[in-house]
Structures are given as structure tokens and as C-alpha cells.
């Protein structure tokens, strides 16, 4: 599998990425690549720069240097609202469900940017919990349902690269399992996924490769099938 994946072209290539929030330098030369159809995780302790890497890809960061190429297009210097229009969907850590919008309005808010997005009935098949909740206020859903909605609204847009920031954070095991089923289904459908995860047992069930981050840069890459052989190393990295 890793050999097969190697021959595929890189969809997202990040090289020597530095990122700043005002005066504070948070990313120190991140380099990684994600190939078409892969699920890649960013692992690391709190503050290692995982969320910042995602925000840098989306342009939600004061200053970025280095290179972020998506399907050959350079994202650094691009207007913030144009980045998602290339086909990148972002599911933020805080989920970002709008309280002044109903579930339906939340679901249909992100504009369709490309052909080939999922239809609303297909989305309901993937997340049956959201069905029939259309007129409910977005933030009245449970935490797990809000996470599903945050993922669901991106699937409509036709984005083919999805950035998922800690989708399992704070959720009950049974809900985490449902999210896992959904993410695997998305992979089957051909979505490329970058996943930030603290819960690496969850990550191990869906990812092809893992990038380990420390102090604002990537320190290691572990293919999922070599995860067991590298357990000791990983424990040291994550401090668990």
C-alpha cells in the first residue's frame, strides 16, 4: 500500500513553512506532503503546531513564509477567501457551528466550490443523526452531532481535500466510533484527508501515514503499517 501510494502525485506539498501570529513565531519550517486519496494525521503534543499548520493552509494566520502548494497552486500570498475555492474544506477544532443559524442553514452555508460534492440525502446516509433536525438551532445539537454537522457541511461543497482538526475531541467512545466510520467512508469515496488527532488509537484505525510534530516542525513520519514497530518512539514523542 505505501508503495502504491508513493507513485501517486502529491496533492498538498508544504515546504519550509514558517508561521507567525503577530510577534510570536509558531511554525518553524514545517515540511510534509499529502498524496491524492490519502488520510494523513498530524500527531504531537499540545502546542506542537498541528492546528497552526491547518490554519496556515487556510490562510488564517498573520504571516506565512515558505511554500504551501495545493495541486500545484501556491497558497501563500493568495487571498484568504480564494483558498477554499480551490477545493479545500476546513473543519475547525472548535467546530464552528453557528448559533444564529438552523441546522439546515449551517449545512448549506459553505458555497459549492466544485462539481462532485455529496448531495444532502447522501450526507444524511452518512450521518443519520442529522436527519430531521433541519430546523433545530445549530448549537442545540449535542457535541457529537455538531461535529458531524461541521464535517457534513464541507462534503456538499465539492472540496476534495478535507482538513479535520481533532474531530474526536471531547466525544464519547460510541460517537468517536461513528465519526471513524464516516471518515473511512469518505476515504472510500476518494477524499484526501489531513487529520489532527491527539487520540492516536483512533488515528491508527484510519490513517495511511502519521507526521509527528514538535515545536513547530515535523520531526518524524511513520507509515501506519509500521506504527507498532515504532510504538516506543511514538510514546516518547507524545509523552504518553
Amino acid at each position: 500500500m505505501p508503495d502504491g501510494a508513493m507513485t501517486k502525485t502529491a496533492m498538498l506539498e508544504i515546504a519550509d513553512l514558517h508561521g507567525f501570529y503577530g510577534e510570536s513565531h509558531v511554525l518553524h519550517g514545517v515540511s510534509l506532503e499529502v498524496r491524492q486519496g490519502e488520510v494523513v494525521t498530524l500527531l504531537g503534543r499540545n502546542g506542537a503546531g498541528k492546528t497552526s499548520t491547518m490554519r496556515a493552509i487556510m490562510g488564517i494566520m498573520g504571516k506565512r513564509t515558505g511554500s504551501i502548494r495545493f495541486q500545484g497552486t501556491e497558497l501563500i500570498g493568495m487571498a484568504q477567501h480564494k483558498i477554499p475555492r480551490l477545493g479545500i474544506g476546513y473543519v475547525p477544532e472548535e467546530r464552528g457551528i453557528f448559533s444564529s443559524l438552523s441546522v439546515d442553514e449551517n449545512l448549506t452555508l459553505p458555497p459549492v466550490v466544485k462539481d462532485g460534492g455529496m448531495t444532502v440525502p447522501q450526507i444524511y446516509d452518512l450521518f443519520p443523526n442529522l436527519k430531521g433536525r433541519g430546523s433545530t438551532q445549530g448549537t442545540r445539537l449535542s457535541g457529537g452531532e455538531q461535529q458531524m454537522l461541521a464535517i457534513a457541511r464541507i462534503l456538499r461543497t465539492g472540496a476534495n481535500l478535507i482538513l479535520l482538526d481533532e474531530p474526536t475531541e471531547g466525544l464519547a467512545p460510541v460517537i468517536i466510533e461513528q465519526i471513524g466510520v464516516a471518515v473511512r467512508a469518505l476515504k472510500q469515496r476518494g477524499f484526501t484527508i489531513v487529520l489532527v488527532e491527539q487520540n492516536f488509537r483512533f488515528a491508527a484505525t484510519i490513517a495511511d501515514r502519521h507526521y509527528v510534530m514538535e515545536e513547530g516542525h515535523v520531526v518524524d513520519m511513520i507509515p501506519n503499517d509500521q506504527l507498532h514497530a515504532n510504538m516506543d518512539k511514538l510514546h516518547t514523542y507524545l509523552g504518553v
Binding site: I83, P84, Y90, P92, S100, L101, L109, P111
Partner: protein
């Protein structure tokens, strides 16, 4: 007809109508302020001055270009809206990262400049603006005389207010607006050009003020100070309704206009302060306003 509580019905209904007219202007102006505050977090002190500019554009169009009331009703809000977009793009947009106070000070300064410029050019005595022919005269309702133009102002402002409410609360465009009010960064990360949306929102909010100015021109005179006379009450309305609440602005605007009218009938001495008394009471009991959400 018998009198009510010793008040002749003509007086009572006359004052209620006047209250409803004033309330219509309060509602239109505070609606614009609420839309702007919700999206930009700016307390737009220039709102009264832009209302005045709207009235002056109507007067200038009539005096120098022969364009009448109905034309002005379309052109003046457009002019004021474009002026607003220019002000937002060139100045206000630079202040969003700073404290709210800076936006307030900037717009306060803009209001002084606009009022000063018109005062320099046209003096403080008002310019009369005629009622359009189609709306002259009135209806005798039996218990009172209802001038057509005043009825039109009430109907027009109510229509615009509820149209705006509907557009914001019930349409897709409104959903973008509500979402961007809550979390502009995320809306931008979905591929929407939020800075353009912010400019258009400001333009729309002040265009409402311009429109109110045209509606007001035949009732009050067109004067450089007409905005500053009104804006203090409108701010009280916004505070009572709850900063940023659309429905709150509309309902409170109309309600306070009527309350003012009633006060004029029953205790005229208090009619100038009743709005501020209500504001003080509301702030004590519900600091976020009647329709506002606590932050």
C-alpha cells in the same frame, strides 16, 4: 365621539399618529445601526449625518436637477450607500482590529465634518421640501384626519423594516450575514469574501438612513442639523432594543415613538425625557437590552 379619560379622541389619535411617524424613523434608523453594529462592531455615529445627507440629496436633486420625490427615493439611498462604502473602504476598515471606541470616534468626527460642510453651504435654517402630488391631501377617518403622506411614511417604513428583517432572518444572503457576524474568520474559510460583505453591509445600513432622510424631507424641513436632533434618541432606542438586534430595533423604535406620543397627551412635560427614562430602567433591569443577548 366621547372623550377618553378626559382627552378628546382627536388629540389622542393625532398624537398617536405623530408618535407612529416618529417611531417609523426611529425604527428605520436604529435598524441600520443594528445591522452595522452586528456585522462591523462599529457604533456608527455618522448615521444621523448620513440621514441628513439623504434628505439633502433629495432637495438638491429637486432644486438643481428637477428630479422629484420618487426619483430621489431611489437615487438618494444609492448616493448615501456609495458614500458609506467609500468611507468604510478608505477609513473604517482600518480600525476593526482596534477597540470599538476608535470606530465611534471616527464616525463621530465624520458626522461633525458632514454637518459642518452642509451648515457652511446652506446655513441652519431649513429648506422646505414639497409633498409629492400623488400623496397630497388626506382621509377623514371619522375620529381623526389622516394626511396621506404620513400614512405613506408609516407603511413604507414598516414595509422596509420587515423586508429587511425577512432578508436577514429568512434568506440565504441573511444566513451569510448572520454567520459572518458570529464568526467572520470561519465564513472566510468557506470561501466567502467577508471584507466585501462588510462594506456592502455598511453601505446598506447607511442607505437605510439615506432613505429615511428622503421620507423625512417633506415632514421635517431639510436642515443640516436634522440628523443630530434625532440620533441621540435613536441611540437610546438601540440600547433599549439591544445592540445588534434587528427585531429589537424595529419593535423598540415603533414602541418608543408611540410611548412618546402618549406621553405628550397625558403628561406633556415628560415627553422629551420619557425615552431616556425607559432606557435607564431597561439598563438597570436588562443591561443587554430587551431583545439583546448577554455576551
Amino acid at each position: 365621539m366621547v372623550s377618553l379619560l378626559g382627552i378628546p379622541p382627536q388629540v389622542l389619535f393625532g398624537q398617536l399618529l405623530l408618535g407612529l411617524i416618529n417611531g417609523s424613523f426611529y425604527a428605520l434608523l436604529s435598524l441600520g445601526l443594528a445591522v452595522i453594529f452586528g456585522m462591523l462592531n462599529v457604533i456608527n455615529f455618522a448615521h444621523g449625518a448620513l440621514y441628513m445627507v439623504g434628505a439633502f440629496v433629495a432637495w438638491l436633486l429637486l432644486t438643481y436637477a428637477g428630479v422629484g420625490y420618487w426619483g430621489a427615493l431611489v437615487v438618494a439611498p444609492l448616493v448615501v450607500g456609495l458614500l458609506g462604502i467609500a468611507l468604510e473602504k478608505s477609513m473604517l476598515s482600518r480600525l476593526y482590529k482596534l477597540d470599538h471606541l476608535y470606530g465611534l470616534l471616527l464616525t463621530f468626527g465624520l458626522a461633525l465634518i458632514l454637518e459642518g460642510a452642509f451648515r457652511h453651504q446652506y446655513g441652519v435654517s431649513g429648506q422646505p421640501y414639497p409633498i409629492p402630488d400623488a400623496l397630497k391631501g388626506g382621509q377623514n377617518l371619522g375620529f381623526m384626519f389622516l394626511p396621506n403622506y404620513r400614512a405613506w411614511v408609516v407603511v413604507a417604513s414598516l414595509t422596509i423594516c420587515f423586508g429587511t428583517w425577512f432578508a436577514i432572518e429568512r434568506t440565504k444572503l441573511g444566513a451569510y450575514l448572520r454567520a459572518a457576524t458570529e464568526n467572520p474568520t470561519l465564513v472566510q474559510a468557506f470561501g466567502i469574501n467577508v471584507p466585501v460583505m462588510v462594506s456592502l453591509t455598511y453601505g446598506f445600513g447607511v442607505a437605510l438612513a439615506g432613505l429615511a432622510g428622503v421620507l423625512a424631507a417633506p415632514i421635517y424641513q431639510v436642515s443640516p442639523l436634522m440628523g443630530s436632533n434625532l440620533i441621540i434618541i435613536v441611540f437610546a432606542v438601540v440600547v433599549i432594543g439591544g445592540m445588534g438586534s434587528i427585531l429589537g430595533a424595529i419593535v423598540t423604535g415603533l414602541g418608543l415613538g408611540l410611548l412618546e406620543g402618549l406621553t405628550k397627551v397625558f403628561y406633556p412635560e415628560a415627553s422629551n425625557i420619557v425615552v431616556f427614562v425607559v432606557m435607564a430602567i431597561v439598563l438597570l433591569i436588562k443591561p443587554a437590552g430587551l431583545f439583546g443577548r448577554e455576551r
